[in-house]
């Protein structure tokens, strides 16, 4: 698998992501500066977490206009895989590549803690190493992770099976107490209709090593490596 991690000014989890990718696929990802536009030879493009442009306008809004995003969009339109985590998810929604928006957390505070995620389908390239309904743990760290879309969009996402992950209790219950940031219908991550683009708020890349408290996030990367092995 040839992966690229896009580096926007202000991104800060690009190193975490590079470590997780190298750990699982044995090859360092290409770090792509946001002014570059060539993604040829890349299987997986990752938009990592952080505070692109300081989140000063609206999270992800300025990064969504970066030169590299034309190439990311073209990559996705070719059927390429894209993973957007945290700020990366926000950038994908701002770029219109995923529907909805990420609002301020319902508590109006930054949240940094572990959450539990229920895998809504296990037949995608991102989740094939999980079971459907399986719950895994991941750190979250964001101030604006409260997923919002109008009811018609939410109904469509659910109807078309495009909800990837939901905030859950450790035993899989989808209840308000588990919905730490107030997201609509506990949604933590969503796909494009071709299931090749995933945006999610939590950080599976920070839980791939037992030393850091667990390996719950590793199957996501293992699955991608298996799907995109070349």
């Amino acid at each position: 698998m040839h992966a690229a991690v896009v580096v926007f000014p202000g991104i800060n989890r690009e190193r975490d992501m590079a470590i997780a990718l190298e750990k699982t696929c044995g090859r360092k990802p290409r770090m792509v500066w946001h002014k570059e536009t060539d993604l040829s030879g890349i299987d997986l493009v990752v938009l990592p977490g952080g505070f692109s442009y300081g989140d000063y306008l609206r999270c992800g809004a300025m990064a969504a206009q970066s030169p590299v995003m034309r190439a990311v969009r073209a990559h996705a339109e070719r059927g390429g895989h894209v993973l957007g985590v945290c700020n990366g998810f926000q950038i994908l929604t701002e770029a219109g590549m995923l529907p909805g928006a990420l609002l301020r957390n319902a508590s109006l505070r930054f949240l940094s803690m572990d959450c539990h995620l229920r895998v809504e389908r296990a037949d995608t390239d991102f989740t094939r190493h999980y079971q459907r309904g399986q719950v895994f743990r991941a750190p979250l760290a964001h101030g604006d992770g409260n997923y919002f879309a109008d009811d018609a969009t939410l109904d469509r996402l659910e109807g078309e099976g495009l909800v990837a992950l939901r905030y859950a209790t450790p035993d899989g219950a989808i209840v308000p107490e588990a919905n730490l940031n107030g997201s609509a219908r506990n949604i933590a991550g969503i796909y494009t209709p071709n299931l090749r683009v995933l945006g999610l708020m939590p950080h599976p890349e920070d839980l791939v090593d037992p030393l850091m408290g667990g390996t719950d996030g590793k199957p996501l990367f293992d699955g991608l490596v298996a799907a995109l092995a070349a």
Binding site: P9, N12, R15, I19, G54, R109, F110, L111
Partner: protein, 731 residues
């Protein structure tokens, strides 16, 4: 600005009559406004350490592993594998009272720059915070702002905030303490210093543009507050963590080349202190042309530019043949890059603006004749011994009070607003162990990091309190299995012109020096914050200690969380010391007696023994005994692992409440599978050890038969912060 320069203006700028006379003697004429500004900030308490320097010199600062001690932007120690840890703690107390969010945020930004300016990638932030009485509405507003500010800055720059401590006491009502610490890692042969060199070399300004914010911040931080504190808001700087993040990446990219001769951040007193210190340390002169300074406002005067404390700026001396390489890097990161002057052989700082010489000061006298005060001291009185104190409520009620009191209650509400995992190297997160453990990328080793001080001990006996702060930092690092290496100190005290305050300072330094020496734990960097008084009322003396230790193998680190079917063994001697204990204050309603003595030889013996056991992989969890004594320590371990404990009866000879809540020093609780082996090796090492309980179940069962379920204990522990912060609105 046609301000008349005279003694009255000098006084406004914080210079005494004697100090102004010295300025006149050095200059041989009336200084210009800009020159007076330069003298006043360079000679401020904040920049010159004029009241504290004579005492700071008595601290031990050397060890074979110390690469750079105090005097650089931060301390540097060798941590093995060809790596250096670079760290420092710094206060932002005064600004955080005036404007909590920006005060705390820029405190984090400033200490980050002190560390990455030396070539280190910052890998962890910590803090030490003291706030006033929680019953005051203002305290809540300050806590909220400070926590948001620390998170807002640290989260955005992407440096994990992994540890810290918080105390509450009415003495901090008008003077909260915000001490921020950054730890970074660099190759030990790639450390960047600030001494300028090379006559003619360009002086380069990078980072944010200069505005009118923070003018005279250093002077503000060198005086007491009166009733007009709110009016000082314009002296507080505004932080821009996004630019800081770019600055970190650009500087580290440039540091990988050979372009930099010297580099220093623009912190307190901005362009003035950075240019004066760089030239002064290098023994050269410097000429600045302020017209070249990137400015965000129009019409700024030389005085304003030299004294501005706009954030996220650095000053560098570059090799002239590498200027273009450097410019390209900063342009890539969309940061300003401007040559604003050059080094000269005149030994003077010359500042030009619009074709006029606005300042022309000889550097040697500016540094060498800086005021240095041997301020009078009064030896702090020793507290009277504490007689016997009866237990008014019993063990269970005492524990429930302590576990929920503001000084012990769960800090999760705070930590949950700090990104503690960014970087992907956090082995022990806040609350997971006595010290935070952060692995070094691409290496097996990890650093153990902590901040500590027990101000109520320091108030009662500053010498014992100073020693205790150092010992507790050493103990917290030891309790993870790491070897403590060095400390940074942040001395927060009241008005040094009062002999009793200076007496506290001197005594605390004495205690710290003794502990640092006995524990091979030298001071490599630090900061002093004086005049922490409002309307004449001073804070508890608070010498906060930031400790750094190393674990060669990160996987050996232990935390405090219990699992079932282990024995709990208490290491160290328990005399049942209740003087100045938290139990005495919270349960018996008294703040008196002497603090627990610190026997440094015992401290070292017990700690070295505990560390050896942890590294032999026979210890499952370890927690030092501090605020609230053994019972609070065990309760915290039970909650962290969600595992109950059945306690054994206490040894004879000490009243139960004194045994379980006493705060004797040099003690640890260890959770082990084989207590017989542990007790045997402790006996062999001459270390007191006693089995005090076993783990399992869902309750904490007390030796007197009382039982507290973990959910009940947890509810009490976790109630304070959310209830307080989310409670009914107060003004």
């Amino acid at each position: 600005m046609a301000q008349q320069v005279n003694q009255a203006l000098a006084r406004q700028f914080g210079l005494s009559a004697d100090e102004y006379a010295k300025v006149l003697a050095i200059m041989g004429r009336t200084p210009t406004l800009t020159e007076l500004g330069v003298f006043s900030v360079m000679w401020s308490e904040h920049c010159s350490y004029k009241s504290s320097r004579v005492w700071l010199k008595t601290l031990p600062t050397k060890a074979p592993w110390v690469i750079h001690g105090p005097g650089e932007n931060a301390g540097v120690i060798d941590i093995g594998d060809g790596l250096a840890a670079i760290f420092k703690m710094e206060s932002h107390n005064h600004p955080s009272f005036i404007e909590p969010y920006q005060g705390a945020a820029t405190g984090v930004g400033g200490i980050l720059r002190d560390v990455f300016t030396m070539g280190a990638r910052p890998i962890a932030n910590l803090n030490a915070l003291r706030f006033g009485d929680p019953a005051l509405p203002r305290t809540r507003r300050i806590v909220d702002g400070v926590v948001r500010g620390i998170g807002g800055y640290g989260n955005c720059v992407g440096v994990p905030t992994v540890g810290g401590e918080i105390n509450f006491h009415p003495s901090y009502n008008g003077n909260p303490l915000v001490n921020a610490m950054t730890v970074g890692i660099a190759p030990k042969d790639r450390i960047f210093l600030s001494a300028a060199a090379g006559i003619g070399n360009p002086v380069v300004y990078v980072g944010s543009k200069t505005g009118r914010d923070g003018i005279h911040g250093a002077t503000m931080a060198s005086a007491e507050f009166g009733k007009d504190a709110e009016e000082k808001r314009p002296t507080v700087q505004v932080g821009d963590p996004f630019t800081e993040k770019l600055l970190i990446e650009a500087c580290l990219e440039l540091m990988a080349t050979d372009a930099i001769v010297a580099i220093q951040d623009m912190g307190a007193a901005g362009l003035t202190s950075s240019s004066v210190e760089m030239a002064g340390k290098g023994g050269v002169g410097i000429e600045l042309v302020l017209d070249q300074v990137p400015q965000r406002e129009t019409g700024m005067t030389a005085y304003e530019m030299m004294l501005s404390e706009s954030q996220e700026r650095m000053l560098m001396v570059l090799r002239p043949d590498r200027q273009d390489v450097a410019r390209a890097i900063f342009e890539k990161w969309d940061l300003d890059f401007a040559v604003i002057g050059h080094l000269t052989d005149t030994g003077r700082i010359v500042v030009k603006h619009r074709g006029v010489v606005e300042a022309d000061i000889p550097l040697d006298p500016l540094a060498e004749q800086a005021p240095l005060y041997h301020r009078p001291t009064v030896e702090p009185p020793k507290p009277a011994p504490l007689g016997p104190v009866a237990d008014p409520v019993g063990l269970a009620a005492g524990l429930m009070t302590l576990i929920g009191c503001p000084d012990v209650a769960s800090r999760a509400w705070v930590w949950d607003q700090y990104d503690s995992t960014v970087g992907g190297q956090t082995v022990k997160r806040p609350g997971g162990a006595d010290a935070a453990v952060v692995k070094i990328e691409d290496h097996a080793r990890a650093l153990a990091l902590t901040t500590d001080c027990t101000p109520r001990y320091c108030k009662a006996d500053p010498e014992v309190g100073g020693a205790q702060a150092v010992a507790e930092a050493w103990r917290n690092i030891t309790a993870t299995g790491a070897l403590p290496l060095a400390v940074t100190d942040n001395m927060n005290f009241g008005n040094p012109e009062k002999p009793e305050i200076m007496g506290q300072f001197a005594a605390a330094i004495r205690g710290m020096a003794a502990a640092c020496t006995a524990l091979d734990f030298p001071v490599v960097s630090g900061n002093v914050s004086l005049y922490n008084e409002t309307e004449g009322k001073g804070i508890l003396p608070t010498p906060a200690i930031g400790g750094v230790g190393v674990l060669e193998d990160a996987s050996k680190a232990v935390g405090i969380a219990l699992i079932p079917e282990l024995d709990l063994v208490l290491i160290g001697h328990s005399a049942g010391w209740l003087g100045q204990s938290l139990w005495l204050r919270e349960v018996a309603g008294r703040e008196d007696g002497p603090p627990p003595p610190v026997d440094l030889a015992v401290e070292r013996r017990n700690g070295d023994f505990v560390r050896g056991r942890i590294l032999s992989s026979t210890v499952h969890a370890c927690h030092d005994v501090s605020d609230g004594g053994v019972l609070v320590a065990i309760a915290e371990m039970a909650l962290a692992g969600n595992t109950g404990v059945r306690l054994l009866p206490e040894p004879a000879g000490v009243p139960p409440h004194a045994f379980w809540f006493g705060e004797d020093q040099g003690r640890y609780v260890l959770a082990v599978a084989d207590s017989a082996a542990l007790l045997q090796s402790a006996a062999f090492a001459g270390v007191p050890a006693v089995r005090i309980g076993q783990t399992g179940g869902g309750d904490l069962t007390l030796p007197d038969g009382g039982t507290i379920s973990l959910p009940t204990l947890r509810a009490a522990h976790e109630r304070f912060f959310p209830a307080w912060m989310n409670g009914p609105a107060t003004r």
